[in-house]
């Protein structure tokens, strides 16, 4: 595995790489050569299978300035150590070295130099494989930036923001060049974004000044010139100047450097210089608006004053001129009043200003007349204040000239209906549906629990054509077509009447008489997807009956009959949870799938539990089939607890473990249960068993698990036979298109089309072209089926307390369980044979071990946690060999060298239920843009977490522990509080970070392991929950099910007498327990959730 980097140097792209395997084997001091850089040969063999042949690429090298850690002291080392890049560090799981001590050192890396002409293809190929992992290489973080820069260059060509320019080279020769035009405001803002975000690594070329612009300038002009020139050469544009003599015609001279494969301008020096000067003058015109300071010309189009019936075709419009200060465009000095102002004595002080303004107006008019030559007529008058235009002219002005004038820095005000889709001809879909949806199998209407036909329900429909807001008939359209006017007034409203629109509207109405179709067809058509109004904008859909309710989607409160909380529900549903329940009930009844995507912490679980109870209260449990609840292993414990707590009457079967029932026996058990709880893994493994049951419903929790479309898992889940489907997820699905498709393909099969079709129609335009219209269409298409409420929504925020505490009950993995039982057994055996201090010591050390096991096996085993090998003695040392024993690492009790590298195995979150769940939750909250504090008692666990977060989530977490010096603490806190999204996760040790700090940027607090004293935990929570906090703070306490963590949590919760004695006492009280009590306290209790994975 390589990490591939890119740099742009002297007109070509250099690719270089870091080799994961050499970094693992040989993290040692080096020469100026990069110690674990990939060879050019390795690079080639990693890249070519994935992105195609690199013909024409040359082997080269590049001198970079890269961050180094100081050389280890005491080994006589003279050179510091090259640090891995952020991507490699993630793969290695290395822990960040103290930033203060890092230095930049010249480092030579072997590269593959890509010819300028192949650069676009290469970077586009990198763009295409973004998000599709491969086994040979990963791109460094900077690659995404290069891809963004490439996109920007291509977009300039597409948007025709490209200029031909002339450059004079150092040797006095002249060349022509196509380059992007970046001086306009919009482009300049984007350029500023690109310059400001350019990674340091992309600029750190030794011997340069590290500035972004020279590299960006060179890259952009090379790419743009490459695109334009290649197409001009292919299409033989050079032929067009064959008959002109560059020596005589300066245009031909200039073009000689722009049209052909060669860029040199071939004529005498004197005249070449003229070309340079004249071109500069010409291009300078583009920059005028920015360079001239002062007032800008403003045009205002006013409608003619007409009576109601007038169609306005032959009316006269007025365009008036004025001046505005671009900084305060609301204040307009209109030309009329400017020229009418008294001048001379009476005007006094203002006359000079007045004359100045008049002059400015004239200058601006002259500037605008280059774009709009008709303005010259107005300029012939002595005091030009405006112009009269007929309807045709004003149409042309608004449609063609306005955008150009706006770009050139002028202000153009047009009537507000202009450009609105409502002022164009548009098509409108009418869906007729009864109040109650048709039901499957019977005509009774759902009283016996049968469901609607869902997407396959037939609905009546017809199309209407509207002008503005008025529906128009075929006859009317034909009459309008005869008039042939581009702007017409209908019913007092102006309409932009393009002849091509009328044509397509007429054709459309004739070929779409209406009829019936399925709901899925209707919804897709209403959003302009299938069977389309050819070239006619679809303004939307109107519906009656149940379809209308469906379309009002998330507007739950208005159109829905609210469902009350089921009586059997043991708890209170907040108002937004009730409306979520009502929404689920509604869709469920129609036989439609639903995706409940509420923000983390809003209680998706209990809304679903309430749904299960609701249907049973309506119909009676006996008639309702079982629901299959598929969850990741990490949340099973939680589901079980929540079901027991809120709905104890529901019969829950947990399908899990090696001895789980199969075949007929399982079907029997399932049919006797209300809920069957299982994991994604089991569903795949027991596909046939699952398929045999006629499920009432399949529910996916953490539905983002099925985000990769072509997996066995997804196929298995979709193949299960069920009446309805619900997906639960906390990630913002609407913005993650691959996930959106997969989840909706589960909930509403076929609704978004095939994956390929979806990529072509939606994902590509939205992701690549940032196509807002397509994004909006997609949103409206999926709106009926996705309910996502945020903690910040007004309706939710008023329901939420400022602090929400929840417990995450987590199941141990098999490995953890085995270790846990070993430690308990070993201790119980030994305590019987000892007493006094030795016994106490035994108990205490067992306690620590058990807590470590609950955290992560690697924490307990101390495996693979290595200090950086000192390399100066020349002895190679692999990381694994350098593993150091990690004994007790509770903060304050250990100090010592910073470990730099963790072994890959220690970073597998799946080995621990807690880390698995933490990664899932962090991913979700990062997607929502939230920030989190993670508290642990153990520094070593902190290191492990930091490594995992970096590797799994690809963000750089901050880490504060007992060994962090004060100055560093302050910078860490400052960086976190800045809240710019670059450092959203902060890992802290409970002792070092639990007091004193102000970390209100966080709205999630995780207590990864528990401290017996709630006061200490609360104090830590208060880092985020304090004055200055404006959001709800979610506190997540992690507890391993069946372990001592759970036992102690229960005691504290129930405020038992024992608990009052132990709170604040640390672990010492445990040592006084009898062996029997210890067994009771510590041994693992079975939960039915263990084993089998």
């Amino acid at each position: 595995m390589l990490v591939v980097h890119a740099n742009w140097f002297e007109g070509s792209l250099h690719l270089w790489g870091e080799s994961l395997s050499s970094a693992r084997e040989e993290l040692r001091v080096g020469s100026p050569a990069h110690p674990f850089a990939a060879t050019a040969k390795d690079l080639r063999s990693a890249l070519e299978p994935i992105i195609g042949s690199l013909n024409g690429a040359k082997e080269d090298h590049l001198d970079l300035l890269l961050p180094h850690a100081p050389a280890p002291t005491g080994h006589g080392a003279t050179r510091s150590n090259t640090l891995p890049s952020s991507r490699l560090a993630g793969l290695l799981g290395s822990v960040s070295h103290d930033e203060e001590l890092r230095t930049l050192e010249p480092t030579r890396v072997p590269t593959i130099r890509i010819a300028a002409s192949s650069t676009i293809r290469l970077l586009l190929e990198m763009r295409n494989i973004e998000g599709t992992p491969n086994d040979l290489f990963v791109c460094a973080h900077s690659m995404h930036w290069w891809i963004a820069l490439t996109k920007f260059a291509i977009d300039s060509v597409i948007d025709q923001r490209v200029i031909p320019t002339v450059l004079q080279r150092r040797d006095g020769t002249y060349v022509g060049q196509w380059r992007p035009w970046l001086n306009d405001n919009d482009a300049d803002i984007q350029l500023a974004d690109l310059l400001a975000s350019m990674p340091a690594s992309a600029r750190a070329i030794d011997g340069t000044d590290g500035q972004a612009w020279p590299i960006v300038d060179s890259f952009l002009s090379t790419i743009v010139d490459g695109i334009v020139r290649s197409v001009l050469v292919e299409e033989n544009f050079e032929e067009s100047i064959e008959d002109f003599d560059p020596g005589v015609d300066s245009h031909a001279a200039w073009l000689s450097g722009l049209l052909g494969a060669k860029d040199s301008i071939k004529i005498g020096r004197r005249s070449t210089f003229d070309v340079l000067r004249d071109t500069r003058g010409w291009l300078g015109v583009l920059d005028e608006a920015r360079v001239t300071t002062g007032m800008r010309l403003r045009f205002e189009v006013s409608e003619p004053d007409l009576d109601g019936a007038d169609d306005g075709i032959d009316s006269t419009w007025h365009v008036s001129f004025g001046l505005v200060d671009p900084e305060a465009p609301d204040t307009v000095i209109d030309a009329q009043s400017l020229f009418n102002r008294p001048s001379g004595k009476r005007a006094g002080a203002n006359s000079a200003r007045n004359e100045e303004l008049s002059e400015m107006l004239l200058k601006e008019l002259a500037r605008a007349s280059r774009i709009w030559p008709e303005l010259d007529d107005a300029l012939e008058s002595e005091s030009p204040s405006g112009m009269d235009l007929d309807t045709r002219q004003v149409y042309q002005f608004m449609r063609d000239l306005r955008p150009v004038l706006l770009e050139a820095g002028f202000f153009v005000e047009v009537p507000e209906w202009w450009g609105e889709s409502a002022s164009r001809i548009n098509a409108n879909l009418l869906i007729d549906s009864p109040e109650e949806p048709p039901m499957a199998g019977d005509a009774g209407g759902g009283s016996n629990g049968s469901l609607g036909l869902g997407l396959q329900s037939l609905v009546g429909y017809r199309w209407q054509v509207a002008l503005g807001t008025q529906t128009v008939s075929v006859e009317m359209l034909e009459k309008l077509a005869q008039k042939g006017a581009p702007l017409v007034r209908i019913g007092g409203q102006w309409v932009d009447l393009r002849p091509e629109d009328i044509d397509s509207a007429l054709k459309f109405l004739k070929s779409h008489p209406g009829g019936t179709m399925t709901l899925v067809e209707a919804l897709r058509m209403a959003n302009g997807i299938d069977g389309p109004p050819e070239a006619l904008p679809v303004s939307g859909v109107q519906a009656t009956g149940w379809v209308r309710q469906l379309l009002s989607g998330n507007d739950v409160s208005e159109s829905f009959q609210m469902t009350s909380a089921p009586e059997s529900f043991r708890g209170i549903l907040r108002p937004y949870q009730l409306s979520g329940l009502s929404w689920l009930v509604f869709l469920d009844r129609l036989g439609l799938g639903a995706c409940l995507a509420d923000d983390m912490g809003l209680g998706k679980t209990i809304q679903l539990i309430a749904l299960l109870q609701h249907e049973r209260s309506k119909i009676g449990a006996a008639q309702i089939g079982p629901s299959l609840l598929v969850t990741p292993m990490s949340v099973m414990g939680n589901w079980k607890r929540e079901l027991t707590r809120f709905a104890p009457e529901l019969k829950v079967h947990i399908q899990h473990g090696l001895d789980r029932p199969a075949g007929e026996r399982f079907s029997q058990i399932a049919m006797d249960s209300d809920v069957v709880l299982t994991t994604y893994a089991i569903v795949v493994r027991d596909k046939e068993t699952m398929q045999a049951v006629p499920w009432r419903r399949v529910v996916l929790d953490e539905a983002q698990y099925i985000k990769n479309p072509p997996t066995k898992q997804t196929a298995a889940i979709r193949s299960i036979n069920t009446q309805s489907r619900i997906a639960l997820t906390g990630t913002p699905v609407e913005n993650r298109l691959a996930e959106l498709w997969s989840i909706l393909e589960f909930c509403c099969p076929g609704y978004l089309g095939t994956n390929q079709d979806f990529r072509r129609r939606f994902a590509a335009p939205i992701e690549r072209n940032r196509d807002q219209k397509t994004a909006e269409r997609l949103r409206s298409l999926v709106r009926p089926f996705i309910l996502r409420r945020l903690k910040t929504d007004l309706t939710v925020i008023s329901d939420l307390p400022p602090l929400v505490e929840s417990r995450q009950h987590i199941v141990l993995t098999d490995e953890q369980m085995r270790l846990y039982e070993e430690v308990v057994a070993d201790m119980l055996q030994k305590v019987d044979q000892t007493d006094g201090i030795r016994r106490r010591g035994l108990v205490l050390s067992a306690l620590v071990k058990l807590k470590q096991i609950c955290n992560h096996p690697a924490h307990y085993l101390g495996e693979g946690i290595a200090t950086r090998p000192a390399g100066s003695n020349g002895k190679k040392k692999s990381v694994a060999a350098a593993a150091v024993e990690v004994a007790e690492d509770i903060e304050g009790e250990s100090s010592g060298e910073h470990p730099l590298v963790l072994s890959p195995d220690s970073l597998i979150p799946g080995r621990s239920g807690k880390t698995q769940r933490l990664m899932e939750m962090l991913e979700e909250l990062l997607a929502a843009g939230d920030c989190a504090l993670i508290f642990t008692q153990y520094r070593q666990m902190g290191h492990l977490l930091v490594g995992m977060i970096r590797q799994i989530l690809d963000v750089e977490p901050l880490f504060l522990h007992g060994g962090t010096p004060q100055a560093k603490r302050d910078t860490l806190v400052e960086r976190f509080q800045k809240g710019d999204g670059t450092t959203p996760i902060f890992v802290l040790s409970l002792k070092a970070g639990g007091v004193g700090l102000n970390l209100t940027a966080a709205n999630h607090v995780f207590h990864f392991d528990r401290w017996w004293n709630p006061a200490v935990e609360n104090q830590a929570t208060d880092r985020a929950f304090r004055i200055g906090q404006t959001r709800t703070v979610n506190v997540h306490k992690y507890i391993c099910t069946g372990t001592l963590e759970e036992r102690i949590d229960q005691m504290i919760e129930q405020k038992t007498e024992l608990a009052t004695n132990i709170i604040g006492a640390g672990d010492a009280w445990l040592t006084e327990l009898s062996t029997g009590q210890l067994r009771d306290m510590l041994s693992l209790r079975k939960t039915g959730l263990e084993g089998g994975e």
């Binding site: 586009l124 491969n134 544009f237 300066s250 245009h251």
Partner: protein, 307 residues
Amino acid sequence: MTQWQEQNKPRQPENPRRVIGGFKFKRKNGIEDLPWTADPLFRATLTSATSDAVEEGHSYALTGQTVTLLAAPGKIISSVQGRSSRPYQLEIAFATWTPEEWDQIIAALCTEAVFAAKFLVGELPPAVGPLIASLGIRTPLVPMKPGSKSNSDPILKCSCGATQPCKHVVAMMHILAERLEDEPLLLFQLRGMPVARVLERIHEKRTLSTRGENQAHPVPPSASDQTLTTPIENLLHDFWRPGRRLHDLEARAIATHTPHALLRRLGASPLGGRFPLVGLFATIYDTARTRGIALRDSESTIKPNGD
């Protein structure tokens, strides 16, 4: 003085006559934090004026008693309305640079593109002052010795006849300071050459240098904004990742495309050739756009591995 005498003294109103449309000193921070272009002269004026002049001048500035203020090359002509019926006439004469000194300065300003680029957007980089001083030119860019002596810079004159600086000059200096903040290049004009001419001469000079690198297109504004890029040595903690603003860029909507917008803004070519340039460019733009769209929408030709 008897009562009679007092009554017959030419009547002076207690407050100055009100001016309609005069220049009011409207600066948000008042006289605090003036920029380096304006502060030295303003401070020096206040220091050498009497406290009465300072106080009254300040309130004149606030009520807008300055009727006119004209910046001519080398001097300011202004009128300030006081208690008398007519405004007082002020003339503020600045030391100017000789033509030879100007040649030197223009040549020095051309050595770095950033100066020309900044001037074009009306900004005056602080480095210009020291640059001019380093040429050995006696008169500094920023005047700071106001007074009535012949070697003052500037020399203050007011028709009120009071000791300089009088309250009218103080009032006017407020307005001038405000102007210098907004248009720092005005300093060149005060030293004897209209701003437009300075820009023209720099432009000429840069164009005429036939040696070295040169280009026909202007540099975009962000290119000369040094604050955009953090020096790499300050990014050791975050060396490899793109900065936050990449997200901003990606979240920004792309403006709707207007065909040939640039070409229409450019208008006819001034190159004086006979070849129909603009028509050809229109075709080129359309051809290139098609190619660009094809590139943007191109799919991978190589099948990714994995299942």
